[in-house]
């Protein structure tokens, strides 16, 4: 701190471009990490493929067996992990910035539970195909977001009240989810429980395309909202003074942020804590106070990819949500350690 204080002029000459450069460097570093973990993950399994062969296969020069193992079996799963993680990371960045609290992520304030309720209703009541389960999760997440927003409304919506209302609503939704599970057959229960923990098992190319299409729409929409987010972080009055339509901007960010979270949940079930941890890690690496949407997205992608690899290969085909749950525990412990 003292160093910063003694040299304020130098620090403030190009603060924005400097933050941008750092953000770019960190993003590139995380992308490199994604590539490394991705190549290892693509090469590991019942049919082992050496890293160089993985790269060769990806470039279209693989043998029949490596084509099958890498391109047909493992690549879609890795790409879904990356897409889902990116969506969760961005969603978390938006919510933490909106609530001005590092704990204000969609997992904790209940949108995941709403998405889970929607998905469960479809699995247990309608008994639908994977496509309709995703649609149910999407509807559930958006409906919950709307409900939380309306309940938190009191001559405008405060970030804090939004978070607390989300906690209350999520407690109710958890009860509903359990009720739905309790009244289901045993086969459905096992399937629903795995889905509820967040799993990438048995996902292929057909499940990848909907996520990719959704992200193609959502990423520009989120990037469009980021400029408001940065101004809202300075406080409602300041933002208003800078010409931000405060409530409108919040609704817009809430909807796009929830949509990102719901897309991820629809694809892989509610994967815990990525939305909470990814933006924080990215922020700390960049050492900026801004929302940092894209770094958070890369960090989320890296976390889900690595967690899935760990859960699948080290834990013995565990759902990825178990690994990210452990990750969340570590993050909380770190918060605790930093405090004391």
């Amino acid at each position: 701190m003292t160093l910063l204080d003694s040299a304020p002029v130098v620090q403030n000459l190009h603060p924005r471009s400097q933050a941008r450069r750092r953000s770019l460097v960190v993003s590139l570093g995380v992308v490199a990490a994604i590539v490394v973990v991705g190549v290892i993950a693509l090469g590991t399994g019942a049919i082992p493929v050496a890293p160089l062969d993985v790269v060769r296969t990806l470039l279209g020069n693989g043998s029949r067996i490596t084509n099958y193992a890498v391109l047909d079996l493992r690549l879609p799963r890795a790409l879904i992990a990356i897409a889902v993680g990116a969506a969760l990371g961005m969603s978390g960045a938006v919510f933490q910035s909106l609530s001005r609290n590092p704990l204000g992520s969609p997992d904790i304030i209940g949108f995941n539970y709403g998405a889970a309720t929607g998905g469960l209703l479809v699995i247990l009541v309608v008994g639908g195909s994977p496509g309709t389960v995703s649609a149910g999760a999407l509807m559930g997440g958006l409906a919950t977001a709307l409900l939380v927003y309306l309940l938190a409304w009191q001559r405008g919506v405060l970030g804090m009240r939004l978070v607390l209302t989300g906690i209350g609503v999520s407690a109710i939704l958890q009860a509903v989810n359990f009720y739905l599970i309790v009244n289901a057959g045993v086969a459905d229960v096992a399937r629903a429980t795995v889905w509820l923990t967040g799993s990438l098992n048995n996902l292929g190319w057909t499940q990848l395309w909907p996520v990719v299409i959704a992200l193609v729409v959502l990423v520009p929409a989120l990037l469009f909202g980021v400029r408001w987010l940065e101004m809202l972080e300075m406080g409602d009055e300041v933002a208003q003074g800078l010409g931000v339509p405060v409530e409108g901007a919040r609704v817009y960010l809430l909807i796009t942020g929830t949509a990102a979270c719901a897309v991820a949940t629809a694809a892989a079930g509610p994967i815990a804590f990525v939305a909470l941890v990814a933006p924080q890690l990215a922020k700390r690496l960049i050492r900026s106070s801004g929302a940092g949407l894209l770094p958070a997205a890369w960090m989320g992608a890296f976390l889900v990819l690595a967690a899935d690899f760990a859960a699948q290969r080290i834990g013995g085909a565990l759902p990825v949500g178990v690994a990210t749950g452990a990750l969340g525990g570590v993050y909380l412990a770190w918060l605790l350690w930093r405090k004391s």
Binding site: I172, A175, F178, G325, G329, L336
Partner: protein, 326 residues
Amino acid sequence: MSRGAGLVLGVVALGFVALLSLAVGSRSIPLSTLLDVLASRDGSDSAFVVWELRIPRTLIGIAAGAALGVAGALMQALTRNPLADPGLLGVNAGASAAAAMSISVLGLTDLRAFVWFAFAGAALAGTVLYVIAGRTGASPVRLALAGAAVSAALTGFTQAVILLDQNALDQMRFWTVGALERADLGTLTDVAPFLVVGLVLALLLARPLNVLSLGEEMGRSLGAHLGRTQLLTLIAVTLLAGAATAAVGPLVFVGLVAPHMVRVITGPDERWVVAYCAVFAPALLLLADVLGRVMAREEIDVGVVTALLGGPVFLILLRRNKAVRA
């Protein structure tokens, strides 16, 4: 209405709800038959249902309700936070996660063995919460957020344990949402000593907590031992919430709603709040249990009902809370 009369009224109400809990269910028993069966335990089906199923269930409901209500009152007094609840803030989830783990990993089956893990889990979650939230004086928002985070992590952990143990899926469900139907008299006698100690401790702590509610400075000058009171309160909460969770699973909102309800009559005096909670919270829990039996064709676990009823109360409290409204 004087506070003494209110307490008597509460006992009467609890007795009424207890009778209701004995009579209502998938097999309804008319009041006259119920009284007959209670007077003489004949070999009829009704006698079996009442004595073997519903009396244990009702008694454990009363014990767990009292424990959670009083634990909630203590937590609200200790943190000076109107939103505190052992269920919502993750203390019950900690007890549940530790109990589920000890059952799944160590293969414990005896409640007297795994109740200690429940205590350890509750104590750990309570301490973590206390430190994350930055000791007393943390804003309601900060504490609730920290609690929700702890709770989410622990529930995820419990779910992972359950997933790894597919055979026990049905039995383990109990550790993610509370239920009274598994309870038997053995459960009650196993946890009773801990609950009694916890309740006595709570009654003894009421006066120091009253003094502390005036603020730490004022409390110290009036001779209160801040650290000792905080530590003993944490121990009481651990005993009450841990034992209740070991017996009936992690219930949310009972500890939140009961203290707020009784304060309408008692005012802020913790001595009365604790006494009232010990009577009104079990009545609430039993009522929720009875509702769960009649609401749908299949019985609904009491944990689901308390969340459905308590969630809206929490949302209303939020709207009234000045700290959140500001």
